[in-house]
C-alpha cells in the first residue's frame, strides 16, 4: 500500500475543518442516511477509506457514486457522535473529483445538472428553468425526459418564457471568474 500524499487529508482538514481520524466507525451515519442503500460505499465506509491514507482508497472515493448521490441532507452529521461533517467531505471530494477528472460515469447526469444550473446563474444571475432544462438535455441527450411536465407547468404558470436578469450582470460574471479554479 502506498501512502496518500497525506496532504489530501491535511488539505481536507485545512479547508473543511474535518479530521477523518476522529471517526471511530460507529456507523450511525450510514444507519440514518436515506441514500446509504443506493450508494456504492455508505458514508462510514467512505470515511474509513480516507482514514487508511492510501492513494488507492482515495481514488476509490473520488471515483465513487456516493459523493454524487449525497444530498447534503445533514442527517449524518446531525447525529454523528464525533461531529464528522460528512457533507462537507462530500463537497470537497466532488470538487476534487472534477479537478482530477475522476468522476464516476454513473454520476454523469447529476454533474450535468449541476453544471447546467450554474451556467444558468452565470448568465442570468437567477435560475431560469427553461434554460436549465435545455442545458441539461443538451448535456445528457435525455431529450424526452420530463417533456410531459413542461406544458402542465406552463399552464399552471410555473414556467416563464424569458429569464429574469440580474441588472449588475457584470458583478455576477466577475464572481464566477474569480471563484473559478
Amino acid at each position: 500500500m502506498k501512502n496518500i500524499s497525506s496532504n489530501v487529508t491535511d488539505e481536507l482538514q485545512a479547508q473543511t475543518g474535518v479530521k477523518v481520524e476522529r471517526c471511530y466507525q460507529c456507523g450511525k451515519c450510514s444507519a440514518g442516511c436515506v441514500l446509504a442503500e443506493d450508494m456504492d460505499y455508505p458514508p462510514n465506509y467512505m470515511i474509513h477509506l480516507l482514514q487508511t491514507g492510501t492513494k488507492e482508497n482515495l481514488d476509490t472515493v473520488l471515483k465513487s457514486k456516493s459523493i454524487w448521490l449525497c444530498l447534503n441532507c445533514e442527517n449524518c452529521v446531525g447525529r454523528c457522535p464525533m461531529e464528522i461533517d460528512i457533507p462537507k467531505v462530500m463537497d470537497f471530494m466532488r470538487e476534487r473529483s472534477l479537478k482530477e477528472n475522476k468522476q464516476s460515469k454513473a454520476a454523469k447526469d447529476i454533474i450535468a445538472f449541476h453544471r447546467s444550473f450554474l451556467d444558468c446563474i452565470k448568465f442570468t444571475g437567477h435560475l431560469y428553468e427553461i434554460g436549465l432544462i435545455v442545458g441539461f438535455k443538451a448535456r445528457t441527450m435525455h431529450l424526452w425526459q420530463d417533456v410531459k411536465l413542461a406544458p402542465k407547468m406552463f399552464t399552471k404558470g410555473k414556467l416563464k418564457l424569458f429569464p429574469e436578469m440580474v441588472k449588475d450582470s457584470h458583478n455576477i460574471k466577475n464572481i464566477f471568474s474569480k471563484t473559478k479554479k
Binding site: N75, D91, E129, F136, K156, K158, N171, I175, T179
Partner: protein, 281 residues
Amino acid sequence: MKIGFYPGCSLEGTSREYNESVLALGNALDIEFEEIKDWNCCGATAAHSVNKELSLSLPARVLALAERQNFSEIVVPCAACYNRLTTTQYELAQDEEKKKRISEIIEMPYDGSVRILNVLQMLQKYAVDSIAQKVTNPFKHSVACYYGCLLVRPHKILQFDRVEDPQSMDTLMSAIGANTLDWAFKTECCGGGLSVSRTDIVSKLSGNLLKDAKDRGAEAIIVACPMCHSNLDMRRPEINKYLGEDIEIPVLYITQAIGLALGLEPEKLGIKRHFVNVNLI
C-alpha cells in the same frame, strides 16, 4: 414595520404560489415586505457541490445587498435559500480571512449583521399569538407537517427548532385548528436537488415519506420549502408508480394553509397552481 424579502429563484418560477401566499399572508398580518434589490440566486445545491468559494459568494452578495438597503431582518421563504444564506453567514463569521476574500469577490462590503428568518420563524415572531383569533375557517384536517432537511439542519448553525421531531410548524397548524400527526418522516430528505437528474431516487425518498403520512391518516402535507413541494407535488405520478398505489393527498405550503384558515381567497394563495388537486376547501 418593514422587513427585507428575498424570494429566491424558485418563488419566481416553479413555486409562484409560495410567493403569492407569503405576500398575501403578510398583507393579512400587517407585515410589510420590501424585496432586496437586484438579488441573485443563492447557488443552491449545485454551487456547493462543485465549487466551495462560489457557494459562499453568491449568498454573500445577497446579504451584502440587504445590508446596503439597511435591513436588520430579512425573510427567506425558500428553505434551501434560507439554509445557504444562514450557513454562509455562519461560516464567514467564523473566519475573518474568508470574509475579506469573499467581500473582494463580490466587490461589496459585507458585514454579516442581517438577521435571517425563514417563514416559520417569521410567523413565530410576528403572528403566532394573534393567529388563533383571526381564524375564520378553522383548518379542520389531519395534517403531516413536513420540515424536510434544510430548515433544521445543521442545527449548530441554524439554531432553529428541535433537530428530530421539530414542533414550530405543528404549533402554528394547531393554532388554526388542524390535527397535527405524529409521524416518522418530519425531517427526512425528499430527494432535494436530484429531482431532474435522478428522478428514481426522488420517487423513492418522497414516496416513503408520503406513504408514512398516508398510513397515519394525513389529509394534507404541509411544507415550507419549494423543493419539498415540487418533489411531492409535481413528481406525484412517478411517486405513485414507485409505490404502486395512487396517493392523492395534497401538499400545501404553510402560508397557504394559514391563509385559507384566515379566509383569504384560494385564488390569491395560488392553490390552483398545484398539480395534485387541493380537495380540502
